[in-house]
């Protein structure tokens, strides 16, 4: 299968008053054609930084210091900013965000915000653009799009706004759409609608989706492949079935166990002790070692390499093939 998006060894730094911090380090993954890849992690894991870095939307104090981002054969980090703006963003890769209320401009109509993507990147008449906007609104399940196109974001419900965002992301038929926590702000029943919609549209528009979320349940429902991030690094990578059924990294295992389930759990939930480290308080060695149940001396001093186990990649000393271990 062809990779639409390839990220190699991506490293991002932030300069702050307190010094320079590495937000993500050595992040590598591939996104296949018409696949959905989920990046899952807790706060401070670097999942959002990763997606913003791909879009070159990092805050002013953030900078990609190493790595390569290849979109359909083009090395994005080597393109001049005007090229990125003109040819890539909105056109070949688009992004939707968590809060559809704040992510839409309050004083422009829905139609205006959709058609401007077309005007920016294509030579298209007003009439055609409007027709396309109505089409795409219909595709994302918005009733009477001819009317909606003249409305402002505040006149729509949360679910409808997120549909408008998706319409905006898809109208230019990009190769990749990044969805950053697109259902986190929505109610359960609306979340289900949106996830279902994304899955359908992915096929219709022949788009690949990079789905960023903190919610493993959503991942189970939408992803083909999963990346688990912790403290700025990828700790585990694999197909969604493998990761959910045979999680390797102690962190992934902890996360899956810590979730209460619908089928009813009693007594204490298994927990991961301690707190998620902030960017400035990441421990040396393996970044998870101070919360890990399987910690040993090596973890405290030496940062683990990524090891291939079955079909998964795991960043953990436990899976170092160089070490023959008696039990596992």
């Amino acid at each position: 299968m062809k990779d639409v998006l390839r990220v190699e060894n991506l490293t991002v730094e932030f300069k702050t008053e307190e010094g320079t911090f590495t937000a993500i380090e050595g992040v590598s993954f591939r996104l296949g054609e018409q696949r959905t890849l989920a990046i899952v992690g807790e706060s401070g894991s670097g999942k959002s930084v990763t997606s913003l870095a791909i879009m070159q939307l990092l805050a002013e104090n953030g900078r990609v210091t190493a790595g390569d981002i290849v979109l359909d054969g083009e090395h994005l980090l080597q393109l001049p900013p005007e090229q990125i703006q003109h040819r890539i963003l909105g056109q070949q890769i688009s992004m939707i965000f968590q809060e559809p209320m704040t992510a839409l401009n309050p004083i422009l109509t829905v139609g205006d915000q959709i058609t401007e993507v077309l005007f920016e990147h294509q030579d298209i008449s007003k009439r055609d653009a409007r027709a396309r906007a109505i089409d795409v609104l219909r595709e994302v399940g918005i009733p009477s799009p001819e009317k909606r196109i003249k409305q402002y974001p505040h006149e729509l419900s949360g679910g409808m706004r997120q549909r408008v965002m998706i319409a905006m992301g898809l109208v230019a038929q990009p190769k990749v759409m990044i969805a950053d926590e697109p259902t986190t702000a929505l109610d359960v029943t609306i979340e289900a609608q949106i996830l279902d919609l994304l899955d359908t549209l992915k096929r219709e528009f022949k788009t690949s989706i990079l789905f960023v979320t903190h919610d493993l349940n959503v991942v189970a429902d939408i992803a083909d492949d999963v990346i688990v991030m912790y403290a700025g690094e990828i700790v585990e990578r694999g197909s969604v079935l493998d990761v959910f059924e045979k999680p390797k990294h102690p962190y992934t295992r902890g996360l899956l166990e810590a979730m209460p389930t619908l089928s009813g759990t009693t007594g204490d939930l298994p927990t991961i002790p301690g707190v998620v480290p902030s960017i400035a308080t990441r421990p040396a060695g393996c970044r998870f070692h101070n919360r890990c149940a399987f910690v040993h001396d090596r973890c405290r001093s030496e940062s683990p390499a990524v090891h291939r186990v079955d079909e998964q990649d795991v960043r953990c000393h436990l899976f170092d093939p160089a070490i023959t271990r008696e039990s596992e």
Partner: protein
């Protein structure tokens, strides 16, 4: 929308009432009797009493207030103590001149202030931005009379390019278009002096709004859509940043009228400000009261207009 305007109108009724009460109260608290100036040692106490009674000065305050209010409602602003001139006529004579000056300053404030603010925001934390920030701070810090004197010293005394005062060239007696040009020539310095601190206020406000707007999520969305920088700044950011600037429209009006007092007196501009200063020195309370009332009403009207504009500009309120 109509309901919104109606609501705002009704809300301003108690404010209008308060304005008239306060105007009236200020004058009633005044010590000193305007008639004191006319006391002729040769006339009798009875004559003084008679003229006091004729002027209504012996009535209780609420009778005076009611009488005054009903006159004002009919458009009669009373007469001066000295000379019995119609106050309405006096003010009507000065009113257009003040409007010319304040309106020019108003236009100047926004025409200059908004672009400066936008420039500062999009070049945030660069040398340009620091320069503009310091300029704005100097603008709000410099006393307007000092700035006025400096400007006169520089442009009329040293360079001789602009007249130092007045509204028309008394000797030339221009007519028609030449007269308009002459007024414009006289207008430039006072308009600059009057607008400077307002320019600074507008630019500071615009800058901080624009900086906030540029941090909004929808700006990130616009960038993610691959829009060019110009479209992001002007279509998405600027229009949102401008909406709160409308509130400054309303606030500018009392500010400029205040400034007109000083500017008019420095430049001998024949407007309401210089009339007011003269009236205070002459204890012509009727004039002062009328001026207070007129300007306060203009301010109220300005605020109302600003609110309506706000609603027009912001679809969230419009609906």
């Amino acid at each position: 929308m109509a309901r919104y305007i109606l609501k705002r109108l009704i809300q301003s009724i108690p404010v209008v009432f308060g304005i008239t009460v306060l105007s009236f109260a200020i004058m009633k608290f005044a010590p000193g009797d305007p008639l004191a100036n006319f006391i002729d040692p040769t006339i009798s106490m009875e004559d003084i009493e008679a003229s006091r009674a004729a002027l209504g000065l012996n009535d209780p305050w609420y009778v005076q207030y009611a009488g005054w209010l009903s006159e004002v409602a009919r458009g009669n602003l009373g007469y001066t103590y000295a000379g019995n001139h119609s106050i309405r006529a006096l003010i009507a004579q000065r009113f257009p001149n003040t409007i010319i000056l304040t309106l020019s300053a108003f236009v100047l404030s926004f025409a200059v202030g908004v672009p400066i603010g936008v420039m500062g925001a999009i070049r945030k934390n660069t040398r340009t931005d620091y320069g503009l920030t310091v300029f704005s701070l100097v603008g709000v810090s410099i006393p307007s009379f000092f700035f006025g004197l400096l400007v006169i010293y520089l442009f009329s005394i040293l360079l001789g390019v602009f007249p130092s005062g007045g509204m028309v060239n008394m000797r030339a007696r221009y007519t028609g278009f030449a007269r308009t040009l002459d007024i414009a020539h006289h207008l430039i310095l006072p308009a600059i002096v009057l607008s400077l601190s307002n320019i600074a206020t507008v630019s500071r406000f615009t800058r901080s709004n624009m900086v906030d707007v540029l941090k909004e999520d929808y700006i990130r969305t616009a960038r993610a859509k691959g829009l060019r920088r110009k479209a992001i700044i002007y279509k998405h950011a600027f229009r949102n940043a401008l909406i709160p600037v409308i509130t400054i429209f309303g606030l500018s009006i009392p500010f400029l009228f205040s400034g007109a007092y000083i500017t008019e007196s420095i430049f001998n501009w024949p407007g309401m400000g210089s009339l007011g200063i003269q009236a205070i020195q002459d204890r012509e309370y009727g004039i002062v009261m009328a001026l207070n009332l007129i300007t306060a009403s203009l301010v109220l009207l300005g605020n109302l207009t600003a609110d309506v504009l706000y609603a027009v500009a912001d679809p969230r309120i419009r609906h």
